[in-house]
Structure formats: C-alpha cells, structure tokens
C-alpha cells in the first residue's frame, strides 16, 4: 500500500496551498503598507495595517492546525506493524540496548514533531508573527511598526518561495518510511528495514526532547528578530521605550534560548555520546549565546554615552549570529547538519 492511500498527502498539499497563497497576499499587503509607512512622516492606513497583521496571524495559526492534522494522521495511520514472531526475535536482540521493547498487540507509532524539515521555518515565522503583533500593540512609532511589518513580509516571502511546508510535506520522513508501507519485502527484509527505522524513531522522531528543545529555540529566534528590529531603530532614534521593548523580548528570548540549549545537552550525550563536541552547530550556538549575554550585560549601561550605539550594535550582532547558526546547519557537516 502506498503512503498516499493511508495519509491523504495531496489533500494536505492542496489545502496548504490555500493557506500559503492567503499568506502571500496578506504578507505582501503588509509589506507595502510597511514601506509606505517607513517613508512617510505620519502613519498611513493604520487601521488597515492592524487588521492585515491580525489576518496574517489567523492564517498562520490555521495553517499550523492543518499541519497538526497531518501529524495526527501519521500517528493514526502509519504504525510500524510486525508479526508476533518478528517482534519476539527483535526484542531478544535489543534487550539491554536501552531501547524500549516492542509489543505485537500495540505497534509502535510515529509522534512526529511539528517543527521538522520545512515546518520548522513555518513555526518560527508564525512565532515571529505573533510576537510582532504583541510588539505592535506596545509601540507607538509608526516607522518601527513598519520595520516589524516589512520583516514579517520578508519571512512570508521566504516561506512561500523556499520553505513551503505544504508543497512537498515532510519529504525526508516520507521517503524514509515509504519502503515499509510498500509492503513487498520478505519477513527478513522487513526486519532489516525495521532495525533501520526503529532507532531513528526512538532517538529522533519520537524523542521527548524534540518537543522541547527545537520549539524553545525557534521561539527565542523570533524574540531575537524583534530585538534586531528595535536595535536597528535605536541606531537612528534615542528612545528608551523602544529600547525597553527590545529588551523585554530579549529577556524572554534569552530564557528560552538558554533553557532550550541546556535541555538539548543530556539528550545529545545520550544519543550521540561524545561525538558532538566540536560539532559546528554547537560551536555557533555557544557563540550566539555569548553574544546574546554580552548584549544583555551591555544593555545595563545603555544610558551612558556611547553605550547606546554599542548596545544596539550588539542587538544586531545577535541576529547576525543567529542567521550564521542557522546557515551553519546547511553549510557545515555535523550531527545537526541538514546537508
């Protein structure tokens, strides 16, 4: 049986395209109003902009619920079932390995996290969208609001053209599990395939840490983006309200980033042993954390002469290091690599 027959992927893609086009329209509208507001001395189309921002958020959330539906279907319709004999044989061989034993009456099921492959960008940008709505309600300067909106619009464009989670949903995951559901193997081939799929399921897709470590980091990335926008604005305007807004998001982001990184540490030891020391992604994440903590420390002296600009430069550097950390997964090989 093909996966498409078990989980309706084409329906998911068609439904997803509806959300993506919806996002594109409202995102472009928001970007246009952002550019106009940035160039004008007084706010323009204020009410329309707020409504568009709310609509962007609603579409993002609706799309996310659509993703949740796919993951629920994967849980329900894609169990890894094996005969009682193979289950018994497999259990004998994994005893003492630390992996949980199987039960033939209750086949193992995938609880795929909602932030893998392209879905992680969707989740991250959705978090930013919500936070920019929260920031929008706190600040009064229309140009700063415009910058937040332009940033969101850019993220929507990135999502639409490069990281669409709906056009080829979970392509990596489905290509991994496809052979299992093709169902044309001998029992021994099936067992061999299961021995490949099961550790990956336990240590990656179903790992409890995957529900804590990545979302915390993506939430913190969204906070860093808000701080970045306020820091850019601080280079031109000396206003403590803006600095405070950026700092409030930076605090939340730092708590989430630190906790997220910490909670990844024992899991990494368990899953990879000592192999991940000097992993490029870990190196760049630690650098990002150092820059972030430097920003929070320099911010204590922001009111002193010269420190205002230094603090804002540090805020910008946090964002640059975050982008570098993200790109490091694409460019550098290692345990976190997406190559």
């Amino acid at each position: 049986m093909m996966i498409n027959e078990l989980v309706d992927i084409s329906l998911f893609s068609r439904g997803g395209q509806f959300f993506m086009y919806g996002l594109l329209v409202v995102g472009v509208l928001l970007g246009i109003s952002g550019v106009i507001n940035l160039l004008r001395p007084r706010p323009v189309m204020e009410r329309m902009t707020v409504r568009t921002l709310v609509v962007v958020n609603v579409v993002f959330i609706a799309g996310f619920l659509w993703i949740c539906r796919l993951h629920y279907q994967i849980y329900c319709y894609l169990p890894l079932e094996m005969s009682e004999f193979l289950v018994g044989w497999f259990n004998q061989h994994i005893q003492g390995s630390g992996m949980p034993l199987l039960e033939s009456s209750a086949p193992v099921r995938y609880t795929v996290p909602l932030w893998i492959e392209n879905e992680k960008y969707y989740f991250w940008f959705m978090c930013y969208s919500m936070m920019s709505l929260a920031a929008h309600s706190r600040i009064t300067r229309h140009r700063l609001r415009a910058l937040l909106h332009i940033m969101l619009s850019g993220q929507v464009l990135l999502l639409f053209f490069w990281f669409d989670p709906f056009s080829q949903p979970l392509s990596g995951f489905f290509s991994e599990v496809q052979p299992w559901f093709a169902g044309s193997q001998t029992p021994m081939e099936r067992l061999r395939l299961f021995m490949q799929l099961y550790p990956r399921m336990i240590y990656y897709y179903n790992a409890s840490y995957m529900w804590i470590h990545p979302p915390m980091l993506f939430l913190s990335y969204a906070c860093i983006t808000i701080t970045f926008v306020t820091s850019i604005f601080m280079l031109f305007v000396r206003d403590m309200t803006i600095e405070n807004t950026g700092y409030d998001f930076a605090k939340l982001g730092f708590v989430l980033l630190t906790l997220g990184m910490l909670l990844g540490y024992p899991w990494a030891l368990q899953a990879w042993g000592e192999n991940w020391w000097w992993d490029p992604k870990i190196c760049s994440s630690i650098m990002m954390w150092s820059i972030y903590s430097t920003y929070l420390h320099t911010r204590l002296y922001a009111a002193r002469s010269g420190m205002w600009y230094f603090t804002s430069v540090m805020g910008i550097l946090c964002f640059v290091s975050m982008v570098f950390t993200l790109l490091s997964s694409l460019y550098f090989p290692g345990e976190h690599s997406l190559q």
Binding site: V255, L263, Y265, N275, W278, S284, S290, T294
Partner: protein, 210 residues
Amino acid sequence: MNSKNSYDYYLILATTVVLFIISAICICSMFYFKLENIQQLPMTVKAGYMNNMNTVMAPFLIALIVLLGICVPKRLLPSVWLNRFSAVLVLLAVIISIIWNVKVGLAFVLIVSAVLQVVVLLMALAGSKSLNFEKTGYWIRVGSSLLHLGLIMFILDVFFYRYPGLHLILFWLTTVSTTLGMVVCFYADSCGRLVKRTRNIFLRQGTKKE
C-alpha cells in the same frame, strides 16, 4: 571611576577578550571541519581532531575558569581583599595543578567558586546590604546570584559528565538554578508582587482562622 568599578571593568574586559578568542577558535574549527571533511573520516581521526581542538582551546577555558573564580568573590569582598584573594586562589590552583594535574587545579577553582556563590546567594536571600551588585533590588540580586550559580554548576557538570549519577544531579541543579535565576532577575517586579500577594493571602487566611 573608583577602584572597585575599574576592577569590575577590567574583569569584564578580560572575560570579553577570552570569549572573543574562544569564538574565533570556534569559527576556525568549523571551517577546518568542513574543508578537511572530518565528518567523513574514520572515528579515530575524528577523535584525534577533537583532542587537537581541546588542546588548542584548553588555555582559554582555563583562563575563563580562573576569571570566573576571581569574579565570584567580587560580590563579597572589597577590592583590596579581592586582589589578595585572587592571588591566593591562583597560587593554590597552580600548586594543586603541579602536585596532581591541571584538571584537579581547575576543579578546585570551580568548587571554591561554587561554595562562594552559594554564600552570595544565601546573603542575597537574607537581604544583606554588604553585597556589591551593579543593580539594586532584592529579587534582581537573588536572581543574578542564582543565575551565576547555575553557570558555575554547568561548568562543573561539563567537568564531571563522565560520571552519570553526578552529571544528572549537576545538570538538573544547573537547569533549575539558571532558569529560576533568569526568571527572577528579568521579572523581578512581577516576582516581588507575586510573593507579596501570596503572603497577603496566607496572612488573611491566618487572621480568619484566629
């Protein structure tokens, strides 16, 4: 700038320089890792690469730990005593390193730092006015002390990660202390209000019972 402030300033400057060098080494290592295709090479070669990088990094990590050991007592001691304390601490660490090895010397600095930080935390909790903090406010001081205790615990945890039992205890102490410290420090006003409100509720219930 008084001597206390200049001492703080130079400590921060030294820490920043060490962190900057560590970051530069990290970036170089990332490109070396990529260009030499370390990921594709046999495990022994990879282990050799990690050992080499550890050797390159070691002096800066030692410097960072020593700086941490000097930074912690600055909350407790006046600058004259801080100088003396730092000199004694570094001297003892060097002597221990010569007698046993560098690891034991660093573990000594870390344990002394952890003990001192616990003292700082207890004094902050007791509301002591004699602690030297940049910021005033009870909850900020408590939060900052907890946060820095968490950082020391984290380094100790990395130090002892090969001992699973100890590692897990230190890890959870680190996580709880750091998270609680950040929340209390960053949201000091809200924490203060929450504690006040809870105390008032308990007091009101106590008066009703009487």
